[in-house]
């Protein structure tokens, strides 16, 4: 038996594409965020409301990842923002090479920012770098306040946590302890920005818009 030391990153092929994406975006001076959550947390609704409310002051292009259909890209295009749909045909995450092809189809020069809406999944997408400046994790209150403890990886790696559907907290329609989520998410990630929002009513959204704008035009 002969042993050979290798010491190679297993996901290096993905990382090569992630670096290409990063370099392409940096060359154009664009920011890019990778949005990750469970299915049904309201990622697309958040993006539709964000793009509609912010209007022309921040030009956002979207890359949508889903197993099937281009329903989400259609919803984004209805706001007149450019959107490219990727269908993963069963794969649980977007890969950097898929994003690379989507970036080729987006009018990147005329945008300020690209937001990638990953496949709905709190686990797998967090392992695949796409070339983003940061990850944004979305947690809706109906999913429960134990998610940062159960899925520490994505909460530890994200720059921003959007706690969505906070309109459901009124009238105690769901049991959800926002303070617990804040404490648990910050245990492993002291600097994570947390915005409680409702894409439905607009509550709390302004602070999120200010954060986004600050990424492109730092105050």
């Amino acid at each position: 038996m002969e042993k050979a030391d290798v010491g190679r990153k297993i996901l290096s092929a993905n990382e090569t594409y992630a670096l290409k994406n990063k370099q392409l975006l940096a060359r154009h001076g664009k920011r890019c965020f990778n949005m990750i959550s469970s299915p049904g947390s309201g990622k697309t609704s958040l993006l539709v409301r964000t793009i509609t409310d912010i209007g022309g002051s921040l030009r956002i292009g979207v890359i949508e990842g889903d197993l099937q259909t281009d329903l989400d890209a259609e919803r984004i295009r209805a706001t007149h923002a450019p959107a490219i749909q990727i269908n993963t045909d069963g794969a649980c995450h977007l890969s950097a090479s898929q994003v690379n092809r989507a970036l080729d189809q987006l009018p990147v020069e005329s945008l300020d920012m690209v937001i990638i809406e990953n496949v709905g999944n709190l686990v797998c997408p967090s392992a695949f770098e796409l070339g983003e400046d940061g990850k944004i994790v979305v947690l809706s209150v109906a999913e429960g306040d134990d998610k940062p403890v159960k899925y520490p990886g994505i909460f530890a790696k994200s720059k921003v946590l959007l706690v969505n559907k906070i309109d459901l907290l009124k009238g105690a329609l769901v049991d959800f302890d926002l303070d617990r989520v804040r404490t648990d998410a910050r245990r492993l990630n002291h600097s994570i920005e947390i915005f409680p929002v409702s894409a439905k009513t607009g509550e709390g959204m302004q602070a999120w818009y200010d954060w986004l704008k600050n990424q492109v035009h730092p105050q």
């Binding site: 038996m1 002969e2 042993k3 050979a4 030391d5 290798v6 010491g7 190679r8 990153k9 297993i10 996901l11 290096s12 092929a13 993905n14 794969a91 649980c92 995450h93 890969s95 686990v123 797998c124 967090s126 392992a127 695949f128 403890v149 520490p152 990886g153 530890a156 790696k157 245990r187 492993l188 990630n189 002291h190």
Partner: protein, 119 residues
């Protein structure tokens, strides 16, 4: 279940190494950090499936899990983080800086030696 994608990438990396050595690979050791961890059973299952009809068929896979580490800000100790209750084991402080989590790495491949196949 991104273990299937990890298994596919792993085999591609192993095959590149095999091509340079012209020897049969019989085992591999990989490692991963706490925030990049893979499930041993799922990865082994996926690896076995992807390895079929390749030079990697029949290889055994060992997976080492490396703890997430942090440096305590008040006392400076570097410690392995218990993600369910992260605090410094010495001073009990929860004020720490996370150190980079270990990536998914193929550390070692075992090849059949020139004499292994005989006798």
């Amino acid at each position: 279940m991104h273990e299937a994608a990890v298994a596919q990438s792993l085999i591609e990396v192993i095959l590149q190494e095999v091509e340079q050595r012209h020897a049969k690979p019989v085992g591999a050791t990989i490692s991963c950090g706490e925030l990049n961890k893979v499930n041993d059973e799922s990865l082994s299952f996926a690896f076995e499936a992807v390895a079929r009809d390749t030079p990697c068929e029949g290889m055994t896979l060992r997976i080492e899990h490396k703890p997430l580490q942090a440096r305590c800000k008040p006392c400076g100790r570097v410690f392995a983080v218990d993600v369910s209750n992260p605090q410094c084991p010495d001073c009990r402080s929860e004020d720490f800086e996370l150190l980079p989590d270990a990536p998914l790495v193929l550390d070692e491949i075992e090849f059949e030696g020139p004499d292994d196949g005989e006798g």
